[in-house]
Amino acid sequence: MCATCGCGDAPDAHDDEHEHSHVLPDGTVLRHRHAHESGPSRLIAVERDILAKNDHIAAYNRGFLAARGTLCLNLVASPGAGKTTLLERTLADLRGEVPLAVIEGDQQTDLDAARIRATGVPAVQVNTGKGCHLDAAMVRRALARLDPPERGVLLIENVGNLVCPAGFDLGEAAKVVLASVTEGEDKPLKYPDMFAASTVMLVSKADLLPHLDFDVTALVANARRVNPGIEVFVLSARTGEGMAAWYGWLRARLAQAAEPVV
């Protein structure tokens, strides 16, 4: 049936448009021409960023955190790079000095949030289900539950994944990517988007270097190839080696974040 006039002709009965007639109840005969199919199509200009909704919520989160003077960092890495261990050590060392809070992202379980709470720091677990990354709306809901401290540090541990979290702004001040020395030096070249999106690279598990053929200089060169400005700290959360420089960076960024917004 023609959707334009309701006549019984099949839409494919005519190539393009055709003329036909309708007889009204009073005997009047109407003749008209139109194309069959479901009527004329129209073009609508949209020009909208696909991630506009996420970016909008991220901007809300960023404003919420700025008003509290909270420094928010988004920790990203492949699974097993040592994100949770780095967090535990950082929290244990800075607990007495800086108010801290954590949002833990994983597909399943609240094991990581339990590990964080064991250090005495408040933590909220976000389970993404089958999702491969945190998004800004998940963080907004977590912020409402967590009530992060003023002039403190909020650390978000993203889902272990070097691909998807790169594209999703959560409202953080910076992304911090971990690359462990048990991975390859070529990680930044294989996953360039994540290293390009990060402000800092932490080279973790450095205490294992004597047992490995890992070339830290090559890793750093590869990271700078995709992100010339990336800051690098080589450290071990297990022995504490190199942690002081990372804390120095954190304190400097916190001082900036905690400055009153005029």
Binding site: A45, V46, C132, C164, G167, R225
Partner: protein
């Protein structure tokens, strides 16, 4: 597979624009995706077709216009086209490139009925 999240956003944006223009059905969605936007077009097509079922966007054709990755080379000072962030400068081989374009991820326009 963040393509599913992107597909859901595309469908939301298209359905909302169609509603705003009193259109019953979306026939075609045209996206603009840069070479450096970290999106796999085939995965996006698959997710789009699956997630559009039961929405006004169902069965819409998905057209993807690609834009080149562009970067400024600190080695030779030229603006060059690159296929990946990790690629060296195709002109001088230098590795220090500053990306200047090709990160687009946008819904450009729709054809509706």
């Amino acid at each position: 597979m963040h393509e599913m999240a992107l597909a859901l956003n595309v469908i939301d944006i298209a359905a909302e624009a169609a509603r705003a223009h009193a259109a019953a059905r979306v026939l075609r969605v045209r996206l603009r995706i840069g070479a450096l936007a970290a999106v796999e077009p085939e995965a996006l097509r698959f997710c789009f077709a699956a997630a559009a079922r039961g929405t006004p966007v169902e069965d819409a054709a998905l057209e993807i216009a690609r834009t080149d990755g562009r970067a400024w080379c600190a080695g030779c000072g030229r603006t060059v086209v690159i296929g990946s962030r990790a690629a060296p400068c195709p002109e001088c081989g230098a590795a220090q490139l500053l990306v200047t374009g090709g990160e687009d991820l946008a819904v450009q326009d729709l054809e509706v009925a």
